[in-house]
Symmetry: C2
Subunit: 180 residues, 2 copies
Amino acid sequence: MAQKNILQYVLLGLLKNQSLSGYDIKKSFEKDIGEFWQANHSQIYPQLKNLNERTLIDKEVIIAGEKLEKKIYFITDKGLKMLNDWIVSPTPELSVNKNEFHLKLFFISDKNDPNLPIMFQEQIQLHQSKLINLKERRTILFGNKENREVNYGHYLVLDYAIQREENHIEWLNNFYDYFE
Amino acid sequence: MAQKNILQYVLLGLLKNQSLSGYDIKKSFEKDIGEFWQANHSQIYPQLKNLNERTLIDKEVIIAGEKLEKKIYFITDKGLKMLNDWIVSPTPELSVNKNEFHLKLFFISDKNDPNLPIMFQEQIQLHQSKLINLKERRTILFGNKENREVNYGHYLVLDYAIQREENHIEWLNNFYDYFE
DNA sequence: CGGAACATGTAAAGTGTTACATGATTCA
DNA sequence: TGAATCATGTAACACTTTACATGTTCCG
């Protein structure tokens, strides 16, 4: 999807409460934020450079060890303002889930197609392991209920992801049972 | 997302049971298939040309009215084979939902942020009207239960979409109530 | 000292959206 | 006859992925 450069807001958002290097941000996309957005380091580094040029973020170069340069970015007042403007702006577009499994399903017209049980089984396994993963993360991050107050949005979206997976698995199981 | 040209399979899938023009396909993306995939006509026409060159689809040019040329495409045996190979191939990647609302939510740390009720209200309305829309479509397409047998995959994905929206609204309402 | 992880970038190719462009047909 | 819809295409731009490229630090 050609979006309206949402990545820039993600970077600002990640830098809102803490200073981070490009590499730190890259790792964030492999963890929590990766559940809702994804980006490769080849997008992140140029975008950080761009945000820096627009004075939305600032950076400090520190030397790790002998000579490795780490660029630690932090948000500016200008960047914080832009981030907040985006957060409070309406979100009228519903995301279209480009889901390859559902797409394949769509093209199976025969109720007794022998591929259906296999396809469902595969998806059930995938989503079950994902669910386990999400629940583990919830325990780690928000097992201590006080953390929910401190990082409420994160808690909300993680809770949503878990409920989504649970419902999805329920739906998959419902039809899978039906095939047998 | 830079995908592995999934659009080509969508086009083949749509042409599996019926001959269609590029314009017909474009309209399909505004209806049923639009729930699971989307594409503009500027992608569709070149892709149809490409599939035609690879002899995965064939076409017949008919004249509508006085001189308007309509290109009606239909799938070839080769195309049908490629479509089926894709359908039965594993689907190991879980789609990442790039959801702007959840992203914004993620960056709200304060439980009492005054924007939360507004944001939830907006989303509830959006998803409620979407749900109504989906249910209408289910009535039209599958009110007659026999149609479910004939177009089973389509029925499945529509059923999924409805359940997804219902669960989503339930989740939104659950937290929205909590804010008050 | 060697491998994994840290750290940062660019290039090329593919995918997707918006804008540009044109013309025909239908229906009120 | 004018507006909506039908119908098909290309161009420019924006976004995303994969590959290319290089060097450092940490830890066993």
